[in-house]
Amino acid sequence: MLRRSMIVKDLARVSRLRGLMSIPQPRHYSQPSKAVNQQINLQHYENLNQSTSSFQAKYDNIQDYGSYKHNVFTHRLPESTASQSPPLVALHSRLNLSSQYSLSTLSQALNLNKFDDGLANNYGLNILGKNLLSYYVSEYLLVKYPRLPMPIHNVAVDSLMGSKALYQIGKIWGIEVDKSSKLDKYLSQESEFLKYGKLRYLTEERLDNNEAESGVYELSSEEITNLKSNNNTASSSSFISDEVEAYGSAVRAIIGGLYTHQGEEITKQFIQDHILSRKLLLENMFEFSQPTRELVRLCDKLNFQDPIDIRLIAETGRLSSHAIYVVGVFCGVEKLGEGVGSSMNEAKTRAVVNALMSYYLYSPIDNEGNEVKVPSDKDYKYLDGIVGLGDVAI
């Protein structure tokens, strides 16, 4: 017992020291060739872009993108080591990746640790994957549902490629978290190759203190600050734990890795197969506070000449306890929507919501009646109605 606590302390000290390592600031700068409009006060720039992390790459020249290098990393995992990790090889074949996709890249995609003996982590792969994902997901939603209101569009993007969605995908892929500390690995004589196929995001310090009861989850200091800031602004349901975030990052990085090895076409196919194929319940995302007012405003925006009319189409049992009314909402002679309700008011609201939904959820088709192509497809053609006009303010 004594021996164990001593080693634990020692390991903790080492990882703390590593955490304190400072990253040198970039030294060399180049002057751009042409003068840039200097009238703009650059002091305000920081207010727009508050992204100063200590984790920055060094470069020779700011525009020489090949020269950027992270000094915290010294090496990538050798392919020979990676190929000896059973979970890594299993994941590779489970995802049906081609042999061009190296195992070392897949292992790197699963590593989130900044300080792991100089082993490169998935920082860059994650950003690459994120950009690829956001383009293909946005393109799909913007073209397939051009009239979605912006808040719904954003929620839809989030439900396809947000961390929580990617966490589910990562779980489906069978990615495992590396939960044992160095000491545990040593004591149980675990093969050193196993960890290269697992998701590594827990610091050695957290792994050491990983002795809570099952079902009890201890928050990290970052998670606590996140939770506090979330409580002030949004509901606590928007809280994302480190584990969810780590899975999301790994999935994004795997997609980024696909681009580096196999190019964009294959990556697009992969995103279509794994992300865009998931069913999206768009109709459940809507919530109207003042539907009638919104519809009137919408018709105004669309330059409809005639006023909105609500008309009773059919009714039965007005004097009974279970009356039913069928109401239509019209613009001139065009019926925009229809609703059924047990009171005229209910039927009217349902009719208006029906009209709004059929407008917002419109999906264009091409002249042959096929689903419309997205801009990254071959033989893409512009169609009328593919560009959303924007929502209305109520």
Binding site: L42, Y59, F73, T105, V387
Partner: protein
């Protein structure tokens, strides 16, 4: 001076079913269109409501579309209606005219992806590069700023693309940045790229970014971005020194 206008509602036939009398009834109503400051409940004169603070009338006129048309050239031509939509911000006319929010969502994504690929595919001798692609550059301030709002806003101003934009600020007089003109200009640029993408497809849009924005003859985007990033680093260093 306020004006009284007549609005004629289209003909409605009365007694059509009976087939006896078929006189057309033309109701006429007078609508007062208010000019000047907003008064609750009064309809504003569209001529005044749809004019920008610097006097441009919202319409499909050659003069309104000219700066964008010249920038796009025939190769990347987009329809006139789309150009007008690109130039219109959500803030204009309470969002009642087609505006550029969706277009800019498209444009900003393709631009980020383009610059990500652009920086990653530069030749590198970094031993951490994956398959020759140096990913260490991603996440650096420069890589972020390349497709960033600040650089694009300045780009639009330098190329005089934002001279005619349909938008509204709470105070137009407080300068390029504080009035929000930078944000609106950047959004207009994203929308322009988005409109080219939706009109011509992704490949042509990438050519467009490469040719017109990256390799522009007059202050290309890279120079604007690097100036912004360097002055930011410089200022931070000075701040540190004074502390």
């Amino acid at each position: 001076m306020s004006s009284i206008r007549q609005l004629v509602i289209p003909n409605r036939l009365i007694g059509l079913k009976s087939g006896i009398s078929c006189t057309s009834y033309i109701p006429v109503r007078n609508i007062y269109l208010h000019k000047g400051s907003r008064v609750a409940g009064l309809k504003r004169d569209p001529k005044e409501a749809f004019t920008t603070y610097n006097g441009y009338q919202y319409e499909l006129s050659e003069s309104n579309l000219k700066p964008i048309k010249e920038f796009l050239t025939q190769k990347y031509h987009i329809s006139d209606e789309l150009i007008l939509q690109v130039l219109t911000h959500k803030s204009f006319g309470n969002g009642i005219k087609p505006y550029n929010e969706k277009l800019s969502a498209m444009g900003s994504k393709i631009l980020s992806l383009f610059f990500t690929k652009f920086v990653v595919n530069k030749p590198s001798n970094n031993e951490l590069a994956i398959n020759g692609k140096n990913l260490d550059v991603l996440g650096s301030p420069m890589a972020k700023e390349l497709g960033g709002r600040y650089a694009l806003g300045v780009f639009a101003k330098n190329h005089n693309l934002n001279s005619i934009m349909f938008w509204k600020s709470s105070s137009h007089t407080v300068g390029f940045l504080n009035s929000g003109e930078l944000k609106v200009s950047a959004q207009m640029m994203y929308a322009l790229i988005g409109a080219v993408t939706l009109s011509h497809g992704k490949l042509v849009a990438e050519e467009f970014i490469q040719e017109k924005i990256l390799n522009s003859n007059d202050t290309p985007l890279e120079d604007i971005a690097s100036t912004v990033v360097e002055s930011n680093i410089e200022r931070k260093r000075k701040q540190k020194e004074t502390v």
